[in-house]
């Protein structure tokens, strides 16, 4: 086994070990932190498909994160107030079932990514960054000015949504649920990177013209990657909203886009387990430094600067040493 594989395994197991230790020590807050890491890592894994594999610097991924959040919020809000989403042309009720909410979140995220990607992928470089940012901000202001679903105040859900056979209000059970989803998505993302689609996407990042001459359209490759990326991030958004039992326009703000990108960059762009390392480090810093000073972002900024300047492969690249195409 290579150093990178060992490191990935250690990183990955760190989350359940932390959660179990917290369970034994009766520290439910730590379990919640571990759950938060798993969910934010999932959002990062989503962005990493676009950013790491496709080289698409999207500063609008909060849009998908927030869409996932609002998918949960809106469905659960209607379920808890016993009001239908709509009555005509057919009756559509809210739901408190997590699997249904996830499916809705993933489909909504994918459709939004299809629309946003189809337009923004016609540009590249800084224009792509600005257009994804603009779409994200559009949704943000839309959510703020939509009083039916709380506007600026957001939506509170009184009881966490249910999953068949589990008590999702028990922190450890909800953690296991989120962790299993993260594991499944990581597995799929790994397979995706090694599949011809992932390889071609990776090649298109380096030289789009060469990919065209072997019969593949870089635009289509990137659009598909963007859609998958948006869908995964939306799933993370739905889980995040369920973790907090609350969704607000903050989830759609460009701060959120920046944070998801920080997870990816801290961990290592294009590294499969990069977002796990990045999100874990971020939450650890927020928790430890945040206790010392309200201005802990100063130190985060400094760390980010050091990683970008001296450790281009992120934390994983630094620890695993050798630069690899993908792992």
């Amino acid at each position: 086994m290579s150093r990178a594989t060992l490191l990935n395994a250690a990183l990955f197991l760190m989350l359940p070990v932390t959660a179990l230790a917290a369970l034994v020590l009766d520290e439910p807050f730590i379990i919640t932190l571990a759950t938060k890491v798993a969910i934010l890592a999932l959002a990062g894994v989503g962005l990493n498909i676009a950013l790491g594999l496709g080289g698409l610097v999207s500063l609008g991924h909060a849009a998908f994160f927030g869409i996932g959040g609002y998918a949960m919020g809106i469905l659960a809000h209607h379920a808890q107030t016993f009001t239908p989403l709509m009555e005509a042309p057919f009756l559509l009720e809210g739901t408190k079932s997590m699997p249904v909410i996830w499916v809705v979140a993933v489909i909504a995220g994918a459709l939004a990514a299809l629309a946003i990607g189809a337009l923004s992928l016609r540009t590249s470089g800084v224009y792509f960054i600005m257009i994804t940012l603009a779409f994200g901000q559009m949704l943000y202001y839309f959510a703020i000015s939509w009083p039916a679903y709380g506007g600026e105040d957001g939506l509170s859900i009184y009881v966490r949504n249910g999953f068949p056979g589990l008590n999702t209000l028990d922190p450890i059970q909800f953690f296991v649920l989120c962790f299993v989803i993260l594991a499944l998505v990581l597995f799929c993302a790994g397979r995706l990177a090694a599949a011809p689609f992932g390889l071609a996407l990776s090649a298109a990042r380096q030289n789009a013209e060469r990919v065209e001459t072997v019969g593949l359209s870089p635009y289509r490759l990137r659009l598909l990657a963007f859609v998958i990326s948006g869908a995964v991030t939306a799933l993370a958004g739905a889980l995040f909203a369920d973790l907090n039992r609350f969704v607000s326009p903050t989830m759609l703000s460009w701060h959120m886009s920046g944070e998801i990108m920080i997870f990816v960059i801290l961990g290592g762009v294009g590294r499969l387990f990069g977002p796990v390392a990045g999100a874990a480090l971020f939450i650890l810093l927020e928790h430890v430094l945040g206790g010392l000073s309200d201005f802990w972002h100063v130190y985060l900024g400094l760390l980010l600067l050091l990683v970008v300047l001296f450790a281009r492969g992120g934390m994983i690249g630094l620890a695993a040493g050798r630069e690899v195409a993908h792992d």
Binding site: L199, A203, R210, T213, G215
Partner: protein, 229 residues
């Protein structure tokens, strides 16, 4: 019927004109040598065929289809397999990954490419960037074959390679011709090698076709007049 037809092709790079009237006709199963001195428009012609460069005048047809409005990736899907000048593998992928990234079903698969170029099988999991120039060239040809093209375009496939490696590449090209009857348009400077493999020849001068005919008719007089050899 002509498989690939270029009729009075003109093309520009920005304001400067590179092609002034290229005519070329290639039948299925034919190996054609595209010749000319440096800067005479050979690579530009290849680019026009692959749609990497749009022509401003003239007619380009492949297998009866007008290619004027076809984007590069659709041209490749229609059956054009380009081995670009300067090799241009995907450096961040391994040999195997380079080959499967754009593979399309057909006669050519990894095993057949590995049989044609055993060295690629040996280097299967090495990154393309770590290969020698000759191996990268083999990989570039292999990658084009994996798309199962109906017309292979070889642009300066032996340029800058050691003589012994060139022989390997030429042996592979001859094998492609004899075993699969592949239609090939080949750009190269080695007249001696082209004589062995090509059926016909087209000579370009200042971006226009000045001579075309059977390879056997490229006499020393013709070669001296247009190619300076």
């Amino acid at each position: 019927m002509s498989f690939l037809t270029l009729d009075g092709i003109e093309a520009f790079y920005g304001p400067s004109q590179a092609l002034f009237g290229v005519n070329l006709s290639l039948a299925e199963g034919e190996v054609c040598a595209l010749m000319g001195r440096n800067g005479m428009g050979k690579s530009s012609t290849i680019k026009v065929i692959c749609r990497l460069l749009k022509h401003s005048a003239g007619h380009l047809a492949f297998d009866g289809q007008d290619m004027a409005a076809v984007p590069p990736h659709k041209a490749a899907r229609a059956g054009l397999g380009l081995v670009p000048e300067g090799r241009r593998c995907f450096p961040n992928l391994t040999v195997h990954e380079n080959l499967i990234a754009a593979a399309r079903p057909g006669h050519w698969d990894f095993d057949r490419v590995a049989a044609l170029f055993p060295r690629l099988a040996e280097r299967r999991d090495q990154s393309a960037a770590s290969l020698s120039g000759g191996e990268q060239q083999m990989l570039s040809i292999g990658r084009a074959l994996m798309t199962n093209p109906r017309l292979l375009l070889l642009d300066e496939a032996t340029e800058g390679l050691a003589p012994v490696v060139r022989q390997e590449i030429w042996a592979a090209v001859r094998q492609l011709k004899s075993s699969t009857g592949m239609t090939i348009l080949v750009v190269d400077k080695s007249l001696a090698e082209l004589r062995q493999v090509a059926d016909s020849a087209v000579i370009l001068e200042r971006g226009a076709t000045v001579w075309s005919g059977a390879m056997a008719q490229v006499t020393p007089v013709v070669a001296d007049q247009f190619l300076g050899v």
